[in-house]
């Protein structure tokens, strides 16, 4: 594919995007946040969300974080289904959930656990994942082909050092496609 034809779309925290355009690349930067990439392979349509669960301490109602997370998963699934995806065919790739701070509650782990549990309960197959660790990630997902790649960001990124300078890490699972 000609790189000039690539349409890179940023997915920000609390947001989601759905596309079936082969030229679209959904892109995001993750620390302790998690991005769930979902796709219906039969109609070549996919999407990505990007979420960070609020801490229990932020609300008087301790179940609010769970409801918030479920909402962000639902809007992505509904977005796919409204464009013709079948819920039974949807498969997922998960990224993020790093523990960026060495002390305190592991928010990244909580986000990753939530995403895995949600997908298990909903019967959505996880075909690849890269979760946890102590480094942020730059993730790209092609919603049409389902190809995904990531670059792990340097531990202490200095000003002026572009994360793009890093070579992509190969993943242990081997189930992620690399562009």
């Amino acid at each position: 594919m000609n790189s000039a034809s690539v349409n890179r779309v940023q997915v920000k925290e609390g947001d989601y995007r759905v596309s079936g355009d082969p030229n679209v690349v959904l892109s995001t930067f993750l620390g302790s946040c998690v991005a769930v990439c979902m796709r219906d392979p039969e109609i070549r349509l996919g999407g990505m969300n990007h979420f960070l669960l609020p801490g229990d301490d932020d609300f008087l109602d301790p179940r609010h974080a769970e409801r918030f997370g479920v909402h962000l998963m639902e809007v992505l699934i509904n977005g796919l289904m409204s464009h013709g995806a079948s819920r039974d065919r949807i498969e997922a790739k998960l990224f993020g959930g790093a523990q960026i701070l060495s002390h305190g509650r592991d928010i990244g782990q909580a986000n990753a656990n939530f995403a895995r549990k949600f997908l298990r309960v909903e019967g959505i197959r996880i075909v690849a994942s890269s979760l946890g660790g102590d480094r942020g990630r730059r993730v790209e997902f092609r919603p049409c082909s389902g190809q995904a790649r990531q670059r792990r960001l340097p531990l202490n990124t200095l000003p002026g050092v572009s994360p793009k300078a890093e070579m992509p890490d190969l993943l242990e699972s081997g189930t992620l496609e690399w562009l």
């Binding site: 609300f59 109602d61 179940r63 609010h64 769970e66 409801r67 918030f68 479920v70 909402h71 998963m73 639902e74 809007v75 699934i77 509904n78 289904m81 409204s82 819920r87 949600f118 309960v121 909903e122 019967g123």
Partner: protein, 129 residues
């Protein structure tokens, strides 16, 4: 709270996790009798077999969405007046107006809180305690 103890609620949502969340929140409020359906079609069968006191339904569902379910429910005599609350992540003006026109008694935006769910129910069936 005898009223709450006898209130029978049908929760309709295609997302298992959402059904569980609505159910657990209703239980926190004090509702004891909760039944479930995974889409409008299954919900309509349940309503026709034994109409609940209150229906809380998601909007976006496969097979039969919340609006189609609401229209079918209203067209069926015994459930034409059954209180109906729509839950939706996309509770914009269009959806609220459509739901109201089709006979919904209230629309609650997702993600809901215990307070917003309770207030939304009380606005339809009266104070819960």
């Amino acid at each position: 709270m005898p009223f709450l103890r006898h209130l029978r609620v049908l929760v309709v949502d295609d997302t298992n996790t959402s059904r569980m969340l609505v159910s657990s929140t209703l239980q926190e409020i004090g509702v004891l009798h909760i039944d479930f359906a995974r889409d409008g079609r299954q919900a309509l069968d349940k309503v026709m077999a034994d109409a609940p006191h209150l229906v809380i339904s998601d909007f976006n569902m496969p097979n039969m969405d919340g609006i189609e379910f609401l229209e079918a429910m209203r067209a069926y005599g015994p459930s034409s007046k059954t209180p109906f609350i729509m839950l939706s992540g996309k509770a914009d003006r269009d959806l609220i107006q459509t739901a109201a026109r089709c006979g919904a008694n209230n629309v609650i935006k997702k993600p809901f809180t215990r307070q917003s769910l309770r207030a939304g129910i009380e606005a339809v069936v009266g104070r819960l305690q």
